[in-house]
C-alpha cells in the first residue's frame, strides 16, 4: 500500500467521522443495551437451564466416552474424520498439529496475507467465500460431532460414515481448491470470477448441509449414557440408600446390624461386625469407609465394589453410600428433615399396588439378592413381571388371594420345608432379620388383593373405595 492510498483512507475516515456520532453517549448506549441483554440472558440460563450434573471423575472408568466443550467439538470431529482416511489418516500430526497451525497462522497474518486493499464485500469475494465455507463446515462438524463413525463386518466404512467424510472433509476441501483456482485464473475468467466464487461457495455449503441432514436422518442415534447425579445432601442420602439397598443389604442387612451372614453364596456363616455401631462411626472417617467399599476387605470376605477393582461402583456412588451411612447411623450427625423419606404405606382398607407400595419395599429389602447373578432360588424381583413369574417355586411363591403363598410364609418367619424329608427349601426372608411388621402387612395385603400393578388396578380391587 503506497502513501497515496493511505492518505485517501485517512481522508475518507475523516469524512465518515464528520457525518458520524459521538462515542459518548450515542455508541456507548448501544453497547450498554447489548451488555445488559447478555447479563439478563445469563441470569435466565443460570436459573432455568442451570449447570448439568456430572459424576465425579473416575480415572479407572476408561469406558467413559470423552466429550470436549462444545466449541472444540468441530476440531474433535475433524480429527475423528481425518483418522478414517486411508494411509494419511494414520499420520496424526497432520490433522492435529499441521492443519490447525496453518489455519491459526493464516488467521494471525490475515492483514498481511490479504493484500487486496478493497474493503467493500463485492470486491472481496475470495476472502468472504472461503470464510463462509469455513464457518459452515465448522457448524456441520459440530452438529455431526455426536454421530458415531462405524464400520461394517468387513471393516469397511458404513454409508453414514462415508457421507460424514464427504460433508465434513471432502466437500469443503474441494470448494476451497475451486475458490482459489478461480482467483488464480481470474484474468482468464474475467468479470464472472466473483459470481462463480459465490455460486460455488453457496452450492458447496448447501451440499454440506444436505449431506449433514441425510446423515442425521439415517445414522443410528448416539447412545446417551445416563448417570444419576445427586445434588443436594438429601438427594445424595436418597441415592446412597438405594445403592446401599442394592449392594450392601444382602450381607449387612438393611440397617447394618448383621453379625452372621446367612443366605449369601460363598459367605454363608461368615461372622462380620455390625457396621452401624458408634465404634465404627466415630473411628472410621468418610475416607476410610469409602476405601473399604472401594477396595473391599478381602481377608474378611468383603469383595471390592470400586469399578477399578472389578466392582460396579464409581467414586460418586461410593460417596453417596458413605453419606447415607454417616447420616443414618452416626449419632453426631443430624439427618436433614427433607432427607427422611419413609416408604409409602396404603391406608387401612386400601389395596396396595406394585408401583406405589410394593416396589419400594422390594427395592430396599429384597433386590440385593433377588437380581441376576446372585444365589436366590431363581427368583428375580427387579420388575413386576419377574417378581410374579420367576423362581424355582413359581406358581406357589405368589398366589393371588392365597394366605399360604410361600412369600407370605417366609416373610413372616416360617420356612418352607419339604414335607417328606423335613429339609428346609426356603428359609425365612430376609434371612437375617424380618422386615418391620408394616411392610410385611403391605406385601401380605398385596397378594391377598391379587397383586394389582398400578394405583388404578389397586383402586379397582379395594374393598372400600
Amino acid at each position: 500500500m503506497n502513501e497515496e492510498q493511505k492518505k485517501q483512507i485517512h481522508e475518507k475516515y475523516q469524512r465518515a467521522l464528520q457525518k458520524g456520532e459521538r462515542f459518548w453517549p450515542d455508541s456507548i448506549y448501544k453497547d450498554l443495551v447489548v451488555s445488559f441483554g447478555i447479563f439478563i440472558l445469563l441470569i435466565l440460563l443460570a436459573t432455568f437451564v442451570g449447570v448439568p450434573g456430572e459424576p465425579k471423575a473416575d480415572p479407572s472408568d476408561s469406558s467413559y466416552v470423552p466429550k470436549p466443550e462444545w466449541y472444540f467439538l468441530f476440531l474433535f470431529k475433524f480429527l475423528a474424520l481425518y483418522g478414517q482416511l486411508p494411509v494419511i489418516g494414520k499420520v496424526e500430526w497432520i490433522a492435529a498439529v499441521l492443519i490447525p497451525a496453518l489455519v491459526l497462522i493464516g488467521l494471525f497474518l490475515l492483514p498481511i496475507l490479504d493484500r487486496n486493499p478493497r474493503r467493500h464485500y463485492s470486491r472481496r469475494t475470495l476472502a468472504l467465500t472461503i470464510m463462509a465455507v469455513f464457518v459452515v463446515s465448522m457448524v456441520v462438524l459440530t452438529i455431526l460431532a455426536n454421530i458415531p463413525l462405524t464400520a461394517d463386518e468387513n471393516g469397511r466404512m458404513t454409508l453414514p460414515t462415508r457421507l460424514q467424510l464427504w460433508a465434513g472433509l471432502f466437500l469443503p476441501a474441494a470448494v476451497y481448491i475451486l475458490l482459489v483456482l478461480y482467483a488464480l485464473l481470474a484474468k482468464r475468467i474475467g468479470p464472472l470470477t466473483g459470481r462463480l466464487q459465490v455460486w460455488t461457495a453457496a452450492a458447496g455449503s448447501a451440499g454440506m448441509l444436505a449431506l449433514m441432514a441425510v446423515v442425521l436422518a439415517i445414522a443410528p442415534a448416539p447412545e446417551v449414557a445416563e448417570s444419576r447425579v445427586a445434588g443436594t445432601l438429601a438427594e445424595q442420602i436418597a441415592a446412597g440408600q438405594e445403592l446401599y439397598a442394592l449392594h450392601c443389604v444382602e450381607c449387612h442387612g438393611d440397617d447394618g446390624t448383621v453379625t452372621l451372614i446367612q443366605g449369601v453364596e460363598g459367605l454363608e456363616g461368615t461372622v462380620v461386625s455390625p457396621i452401624n455401631s458408634q465404634d465404627v462411626m466415630y473411628t472410621f472417617t468418610d475416607e476410610t469407609l469409602a476405601n473399604i467399599i472401594n477396595y473391599g476387605q478381602q481377608s474378611l470376605g468383603m469383595p471390592p465394589f470400586g469399578k477399578a477393582y472389578g466392582g460396579e461402583l464409581g467414586p460418586s456412588e461410593i460417596g453417596y453410600i458413605v453419606t447415607f451411612m454417616r447420616y443414618s447411623w452416626d449419632d453426631r450427625m443430624e439427618m436433614p428433615a427433607e432427607a427422611v423419606v419413609s416408604l409409602p404405606l396404603p391406608a387401612p382398607g386400601e389395596a396396595p399396588s406394585y408401583d406405589v407400595h410394593v416396589q419400594p419395599i422390594l427395592q430396599r429389602y429384597c433386590v440385593s439378592c433377588h437380581r441376576a447373578g446372585k444365589e436366590n432360588g431363581g427368583l428375580l424381583m427387579t420388575s413386576y413381571e419377574e417378581t410374579l413369574t420367576t423362581g424355582d417355586y413359581a406358581g406357589r411363591t405368589i398366589v393371588a388371594g392365597d394366605p399360604n403363598s410361600y412369600l407370605i410364609l417366609v416373610i413372616n418367619g416360617t420356612p418352607i420345608t419339604d414335607p417328606a424329608t423335613g429339609e428346609v427349601l426356603i428359609r425365612q426372608m430376609p434371612p437375617t432379620r424380618l422386615m418391620p411388621p408394616e411392610y410385611i402387612d403391605v406385601l401380605t395385603r398385596w397378594i391377598l388383593a391379587g397383586m394389582p400393578r398400578t394405583a388404578e388396578d389397586a383402586q379397582a380391587v379395594s374393598p372400600t373405595p
Binding site: 459521538r22 462515542f23 449447570v51 472444540f72 470464510m131
Partner: protein, 219 residues
Amino acid sequence: MWKKFYAWLDERLGLNDLYKATLDRPEPKGNWWNTLGSASLFLFLLQGVTGIFLTVYYTPSPDHAYDSIQYIMNEVAFGWLIRGIHHWGATLMVLVVFIHMLRVFVTASYKYPRELTWIIGVGLLLLTLGMGFTGYLLPWNQRAYWATTVGTEIAGAVPFIGGFITRALRGGEDLSALTLSRFFSAHIWMLPALLAGLIGVHIYLIVKHGESAFPDRED
C-alpha cells in the same frame, strides 16, 4: 460545592483530558454489530467477578474439587447463580468473541491502519479458548477428566516435542493433582493476566485509530 470538588480532582487527575480522549470521541455512524467487542469485554469482566467469587469456596485438589463445587451449588447462598453465570458466560463469551471476529472480517476492518488490532484480537480469541480449556477441567468430574485426558493427548501428536508438551501440561505422565493445580493456576492467574494486558493494548489501538467505518462501494 460539587463543581469545586470536581475542579480540584480534575486539576490533579486530568479528568477532562481523559474524558476527551476516551469518551468524547467522534465515531463513524454506528451499527449494532459494533457492540460485540464491548460485549466481549463485559463478559470478560463478568467472568472475572464471578470467577473471583467462585475461588472463595473452590479447592483445586482432586479430593475436594468436586465436593467444593457441589457445596457451591447446593449450600452457598446464590452459589448456583454465580456458578451458572460463570458456566454460561464462558459459552457466551466464546460465541460473542467469535461473532465479533466474523464481523471484523466481513467489514474488512482488519485492513490498514488496524492490522495490529486484528493480530492482537486473534491472540485474545486463542486466550479465550485457553480459558475454556483450562476451566473445563476444574470441576473434576467425568466429563472434565476425560476431555482433558484426550485434549492433552492431542498435544502429544506434535512431532518430536509432543511427549514433552503433554507431560508439561499434565505435570507428569497422567492426569493428577499436579494437572489440576497447573490448570487452576493458568485459569485464574496466567491466562487472565495475559488477557487483561492484551485487552488493554486492543482497546488502546481502537481509541488510537477510532472505530472503523462500514465500507461502502468506493472502499
